[in-house]
Amino acid sequence: MRKRLLWTAGGFAFAGLSGLASADGWNMPVGVTDVSREIHSLHMIIFWICVVIGVVVFGAMFYSLFRYRRSQGAEASNFHEHTTVEVIWTVIPLLILVGMAVPATATLKSMYDTTEADLDVMVTGQQWRWRYEYLGEDVAFTSNLATSREQIAGEAAKGEDYLLEVDEPLVLPAGRKVRLLLTSDDVIHSWWVPDLAVKQDAVPGFVNENWVRINEPGIYRGQCAELCGRDHAFMPVVVQAVEPERFDAWLAQRKEAAAQEALGVDRDWSLEALMERGERVYGTICASCHQPDGSGSPPAFPALAGNQALLDERDRHIDTVVNGVSGTAMPAFRSTLNPVEIAAVITYERNAWGNDTGDAVQPSTIADEWLAD
């Protein structure tokens, strides 16, 4: 009777642990790359080794405590050394460690093999967004949080992908090897997507490498995993893996759009067109610090609405946006935004929220006078 009870309890414990090991949200995901699968199976092997060791060690301990208790007349045996036992308890862990190291080393080596990639993508962390650049393809964009401010402030119901949604995901071709080159413009960030088994630091001044070959098309979400300042929680990663043919079409279309945008630099823009474009740029890039209504958060982030120095000195305003202000949180946008976006956002800042300079800063002015070097 007692034996059966013990077996039943053991069975339940095993079933519970097995369930835990595969349950969504409790365990690390299996993921959608060969590497992520390897990592998951390594993790499970080591987990079960730990379980077995735990059961054996604690089992032996509790059994001894119970079986050889003093009230039953057990007496301690006093001896100083027992070479055989000592050799056994040294050799067994050694074998276990070597046994775990062999498959782990093989996986590590394949993780670090970034050679022969079909596509190179530069991933740059910025406070607080990710920028993606398809190297050699003239396609680059920033990927900003798309969750509404109302949801964050608790004024609206949280969506399904709360804080895990962006305006433009990183689009990658499924089945092709993609090399990721990670760096940062300001502080250390970390690009983390659990389903791809990639968590790599983005460090200013360094370029770290990683790679993915995504087996299944789909949307994979992650976050910045290195505390990087106030909006650390608001710079998610979204990767959209699509069929290679769809990717090629997407890339061609993005190239075309970039070329169109380049043409837009030379034409004359109306104040209204600049304002409309500028409002969008402001919302994704500037509003997180200077606030949607331009009120800023002084003293770190000055107000733009009714800022007399800004209204009086147009060139200094442009210089601030293009080159940033060293020693402050204001970054340079000369390489992040294109001339149209820079001109539009400056025009917007000079004419929104009661600012009424009437200035329409032309993209050609930015390109010729501020970015030509």
């Binding site: 050394e81 050799v87 040294t90 070597v98 190291a101 062999v102 498959p103 080393t105 093989a106 080596k109």
Partner: protein
């Protein structure tokens, strides 16, 4: 010599007989143990590198 190697190996492994230890401390000199220890540390490193290379294919 063989005695020294065996004692150094035992030290690497972490298990040594008390009688052997006493014998080493009473009769031996320090220098040979240190030299053999350094040499065997180098051998160990080479071994680990070999195993890692083999494992990684």
């Amino acid at each position: 010599m063989w005695q020294i190697i065996k004692s150094v190996l035992a030290a690497f492994f972490g298990v040594q007989k008390e009688a052997r230890r006493r014998e080493d401390f009473e009769k031996g000199r320090a220098a040979p143990f240190i030299i053999v220890g350094v040499l065997m540390a180098i051998v160990l490193v080479i071994l680990v590198v070999l195993v890692a290379t083999l494992a990684a294919g």
